[in-house]
Each structure stands twice: as C-alpha cells, then as structure tokens.
C-alpha cells in the first residue's frame, strides 16, 4: 500500500506528516500500554466497587422487612431507602456499562499497540482522523466512543456491526448518534467538509485541487481479491511492478471518474470499472462509502487466436 505523505494541517499550524505521526504513535506505544494498564486497574477497582454496591443493595433489601417491623420512624426511613434503591441500581448499571466501555477501549489500545498489521495501521490512521475530528468539534468526551466505533467497523464483520449497534444503543446523546452515522456510512474515513480548512488529506496539497463532491476529498485504499492476485502472478516481475504501480497511481484518486484510461463496463458479474495500463486491463469495483477500490481481475490482451462458439479460429 502506498505510504505517500499524509499530512494533516490545522488552522493553528502544520501537524506532523503521516510518517511522523506513525513514528509518534510507535514511540508513544509504551506510554499507551502504561495508560491501558492503568485503565485496566481502574476498571478492576470500579468493578470491585460495583460488586460492593450490589452487596450493600442486597443487604439493604434483606434488612428492610425487619426494619419495617420495628418502628414507624424506621418505616418512614425504609420508604426513603426504597425510593433510593432504584436510583442506586441504575447507578450500578451505569457504572457497569462504563466499566465495559473502558475495557473495550483498553482492548483497542492494546490491540493497536501490539500488532503491526496493515489493518492495525489503518485503524491507527482512522484513530488519528477521529482525534482530529474530536479536536475540531471540541468533543473530547466522544473520543472513546468514536475510537471503539471505528475499531469495530474496521473489522467489517456482521458481528462487529452488531457490536457497534449495541454500543450505539448504550449511548443516547445526539452527538454520538451523529458520529455513529458517520462511522456507518463511511464518512468517518474522511473528515467532514467543514473541517477541510484545518485537515489536509493524505497525499494532497492543502489546496490540492479538491473539487466539490465526496469523491474528490479522500484517497482510496486499494484491495485485491485472491483472483486478482492469481492473475497478477501470471505476469513477469517488471510487468507486475508496472501494473501495481499503475493501479496505485490511477485509482487512489477519483476512481469513478471516466477518463481515457478508466472506462465504465457494461453490467457484468465481475466489475463496474476497467482501468487500462498499456495492454493490461484491470477490472475493479469501487465502494465510495468506505473509500475502497477492490481489484477484481487483471487481464492481458488476447493473442491472435480465439474461440468462437467453441471453434478455434486464427486471425
């Protein structure tokens, strides 16, 4: 994957380039681990407290009938305690939810710190975007929710989406709802338009020719299907280099704009688009929601022999 410069700027000045950010993230990994361990400790403490509160609640519930038998004064007090009990139980549930949430965030931080796969790098990048969005929105309390939401969405499985949905159900604030929508429709991968003034997209200049429209604001990730990889393996090494470079250069920006080299396909079972790289044709699909170009197949020019209705014919 191209690791072209990914600079982000704010109105307050230049932010570090993507590579600097990556090294910053790597350097800060021990700190993040420490923080994660600290959060885990705090989580354990909160859990213990929660269990203690639950025990106390149970005790109060047990003692209440006895107190009711004793004095009218205690009856009044008991009624008061009974009124308070649901509140305490609600608080307990809230603390439990918060604990689970903190555990989720801790897991995410540990995951990101521990692994170095492409997906983790993608998650790191998305986390950086989330940080920028939170900074621009002045909504730091949303940060953990956004990070977790982005993480689970990044795994792209039905289970992840369900987990995200459950997370959303736990958070009723309108602002979180907005963020959830942003994650689900993929716009989390691009900073909202009103943030363009302070956020520079990777690989583009600050005034990098960005025209109106979603397609023009964000670079696309390139994914290959297994079939496309197998197709690539038929080519010689220098041809593979030319093809992969050509795909990276021509499909990261505006892959759905028709040009001399990018043609729309008649409806078929494989792909909606075709890219020309010399005599090679690359069939691809584009998911504009999550900014991913998926290379389906790669084909070479047919020789001067073809089969017509099962009959071999030479041109």
């Amino acid at each position: 994957m191209s690791t072209s410069p990914r600079c982000c700027t704010t109105s307050e000045g230049e932010l570090p380039r993507a590579s600097t950010m990556k090294s910053l993230i790597l350097n800060s990994t021990p700190l993040i681990l420490d923080v994660a361990i600290f959060i885990l400790d705090v989580s354990t403490l909160i859990l213990n407290l929660t269990l203690f509160i639950l025990d106390v609640s149970t005790l109060i519930l047990d003692v209440t009938p006895l107190i009711l038998d004793l004095t009218p004064f205690i009856l009044d007090s008991t009624a008061l305690i009974l009124d308070l009990t649901p509140l305490i139980l609600d608080s307990t549930a809230l603390i439990l939810d918060l604990t689970l949430f903190i555990l989720d965030v801790s897991t995410l931080i540990l995951d990101v710190a521990r692994t170095s796969s492409t997906q983790s790098q993608r998650i790191c990048r998305n986390v950086c975007y989330v940080l920028l969005i939170c900074h621009a929105e002045r909504s730091w309390p949303l940060l953990p929710t956004l990070v977790v939401a982005t993480h689970v969405y990044g795994q792209r499985s039905e289970a992840s989406r369900n987990a995200l949905h459950r997370l959303y159900q736990r958070c009723s604030e309108a602002s979180v709802s907005t963020c959830y929508t942003a994650v689900c429709d993929g716009s989390i991968f691009s900073v909202p338009r009103h943030h363009n003034a302070c956020v520079e997209r990777p690989g583009r200049g600050r005034h990098g020719g960005s025209r109106s429209g979603k397609d023009h604001t964000t670079m696309y990730d390139i994914d290959y299907t297994q079939e496309a990889l197998e197709d690539l393996q038929w080519f010689r090494k220098h041809e593979q280099n030319i093809i992969v470079d050509g795909i990276d250069q021509q499909l990261r920006n505006e892959p759905t704009s028709e040009t001399r080299n990018r043609k729309r396909m008649q409806v078929n079972a494989y792909a909606e688009w075709e890219l020309r790289i010399g005599d090679v044709r690359v069939l691809y699909n584009v998911d504009t929601q999550v900014r991913i170009v998926e290379i389906q197949r790669i084909g070479e020019k047919r020789g001067n022999t073809f089969f017509f209705r099962g009959r071999r014919t030479d041109i």
């Binding site: 072209s4 590579s19 290959y224 197998e230 069939l283």
Partner: protein, 106 residues
Amino acid sequence: MITWNYRVFREDDGDYVIREVFYAEDDSIIGCTANAVEPFGRSIEELTTSIMDFQAALALPVLTLAEIPQPAMPPKKRANGRTLSSADVRTRLGLAAPSSDKKEKS
C-alpha cells in the same frame, strides 16, 4: 487469467462500434465496456499498434450487446471473501515499495 480484445458490435440503431470484450479462462465472454472505445497511444508507434488491434477486430464475428451475458444481479461493491491490501500484494509478489515511498525516503 482473463483476457481481452477489441470486438465489433452492431448497435440497436444499426451503427457499428468497437468495444473491449473480456473473456474468462474458458474463453467465454464475461463482459465488455459500456461504451465504444477509441484508438490511443502515448506515441505514434503506440497509436499505430492500437489502430492495428482495432483493425484485427474487423476480422472477428460481429457481436451485439444481446450476446453479452447479463448477470441476474450487478456485481457486489466488495467481495465477501478475504482481500489483500496493496502493500500485502507487493509483499507477496516481492515487489518494491511504491515510487512515492522511494521519493519520500530519498
């Protein structure tokens, strides 16, 4: 691996155009470009070759869009199966990092 070539199409209005047609490994047609394509090249020599390729299409049977298989459902935006990132593909094939990276390092 799939292959492609230029083929002459007779359009519904009676016009003749040339499209790129794609073939599966078993030589069955899997699709074609939505619109007619044009000769092109980055040099006169390339343009000449391109025109010759177009000319070769004239020797092949004329197609109509009705002969192009139509799927019941349009292609999915993304495959359900596992995909590989561009970096993973480069690693698998033992290719160099993209040129932009080289420039950055230098």
